[in-house]
């Protein structure tokens, strides 16, 4: 296994530049959750010229809709959801200063281009490894859109959240590289 890079969230412009597609990372600090419905509301609020319920600058958004929290636990199972459904909204959020995303699955060319242009990275976590990932979430706070239930925006305090850099600020896409390496077609 490659060497593990330990990084802090919110991210800095320097940190994202030091990351390369394929790097294995552990993220500690604070990240925000948002998926389909929250993305829709955030971009609609921006279109109306409203202030967002969170400052996106340098922050990492985790695409997740956790299962309900059992008594005595910090969060329920909380693995990544398919990122592609957020592609439509992502370039706008990156433009607003968002530095990182955590999800799973393919991204559009527009998202990759925005990562290069504004300096953002796309991390992937192991889809379906929700129970293991939850161990790295040590705190949770409701931030906005509570009515959306599992789709509400929450702030997670994370300690050594396991992820892999998939799209870096240089336009590399680790899905393409990884699959090409093992293809025997």
């Amino acid at each position: 296994m490659a060497e593990i890079k330990y990084i802090k969230a919110p991210l800095t412009a320097e940190t994202v530049k030091s990351l390369h597609a394929g790097d294995v990372v552990r993220i500690s600090g604070y990240i925000y959750t948002a998926r389909d419905a929250a993305h829709k509301r955030l971009t609609e609020a921006l279109a109306r010229g409203e202030k967002l319920p969170l400052d996106l600058k340098d922050n990492v958004i985790y695409y997740v809709g956790p299962s309900p929290t059992k008594p005595g636990e910090v969060v329920g199972s909380a693995g990544p959801t398919t990122s592609g459904r957020m592609d439509k909204y992502t370039p706008t959020l990156i433009q607003q200063g968002m530095r990182g995303m955590i999800g799973k699955g393919l991204r559009s060319k527009e998202v990759i281009d925005a990562c290069v242009k504004y300096g953002a990275v796309y991390f992937v976590a192991v889809g379906g490894a929700a129970a293991v990932i939850s161990k790295s979430i040590v705190g949770e706070q409701m931030i906005a859109y509570e009515d959306l239930g599992p789709e509400a925006i929450r702030r997670y305090e994370v300690k050594d959240f396991p992820a892999i850099v998939c799209i870096d600020t240089y336009g590399n896409d680790f899905y393409k590289e990884g699959i090409a390496k093992y293809s025997k077609e």
Binding site: P68, A78, G79, K104, G128, K181
Partner: protein, 281 residues
């Protein structure tokens, strides 16, 4: 005639919802443990180990393997000598789903109207129910919650007879390749061939209720399953779609007689968290 109170059905469905979401089928876990040794990519090995660790952790804590506890698909084989009493069967199944999802801390992912309202029903109902009538006086219930990451990557095509087996091979492999990381590989590939449009789709879904290692009883189809598995693993998609050898656990084909003019084929992909629990009443 054997009487079964629908309360028993509600209780069984509630338990199966929880069990399927907490406990990965034993033989699937065994498959991953063996597949780690065959995986060529170091990162792929690491991901398979994470999948194993995750399944074991979920089991020990009684928490969902994956947060997307899906729409609840219920297959029910009902012996024709059974008479249900105490209420309506479908209502009893939905009540079991609601109970299992609410009390089991499973995520509710069902919205009432697909286009305009999209309001969460808050108890994961309605279940998607497929009943068949069989001989005897038993009832077999199989609950397979299925997340949308894998469900969204399914595909269906009305192939023509002239497309032949090559047409099927190309369609299946293309579907898995273009799905890439989205359905959380290693996937189980469910293939339904023949019948008509809805029959092929249902066969593809039904094939996912098989245990790992079970093949179609028709040797020609069993051989095609093996061939397809090999081709799918050659795509290089690998665990989590980050590159590697183990792209799929199995390819399961179910077939049905069809029209002289057609050869429908449906592909339904299941993720590594292929949840399934069954019970016989």
């Amino acid at each position: 005639m054997r009487e079964i109170d629908v309360k028993q059905v509600t209780e069984a469905v509630a338990k199966l919802c929880k069990d399927s979401c907490y406990y990965l089928p034993e033989e699937l876990l065994a498959f991953y443990k063996e597949a780690v040794n065959r995986e060529e990519s170091p990162l792929g090995k690491e991901i398979l180990n994470t999948i194993i660790e995750n399944a074991e952790l979920a089991k020990s804590k009684d928490v969902p393997i994956c947060q997307d506890t899906g729409l609840t698909v219920v297959f029910m084989e009902i012996g024709q000598d059974v008479h249900f009493i105490g209420g309506d069967l479908y209502t009893a199944i939905h009540a079991g789903v609601a109970d299992g999802y609410v009390k089991g801390y499973l995520r509710k992912s069902s919205v009432d109207d697909p286009v305009f309202v999209r309001k969460n029903t808050n108890d994961n109902t309605p279940a998607i129910i497929h009943t068949t009538i069989v001989s005897g006086d038993k009832v077999k219930i199989t609950v397979c919650p299925k997340g949308c990451g894998s469900e969204n990557m399914g595909a269906m095509k009305m192939l023509k007879p002239a497309d032949g087996v090559e047409g099927i091979i190309k369609f299946v492999v293309d579907t898995v390749r273009s799905a890439g990381p989205n359905p959380c590989p290693p996937v189980t590939v469910g293939v339904g061939v023949g019948g008509n449009m809805e029959k092929a789709a249902l066969l593809a879904k039904y094939s996912l209720t098989r245990k790992v290692g079970e093949h179609n009883k028709n040797p020609q189809y069993a051989e095609l399953e093996t061939k397809l598995l090999d081709l799918v693993n050659k795509t290089g998609v690998g665990p989590s779609g980050l590159g590697g050898r183990i792209t799929a656990v199995a390819v399961n084909i179910e077939y049905a007689p069809t029209h002289i003019g057609g050869m429908p084929v449906a592909v339904n992909l299941n993720c590594h968290a292929a949840r399934r629990a069954e019970m016989v009443l």
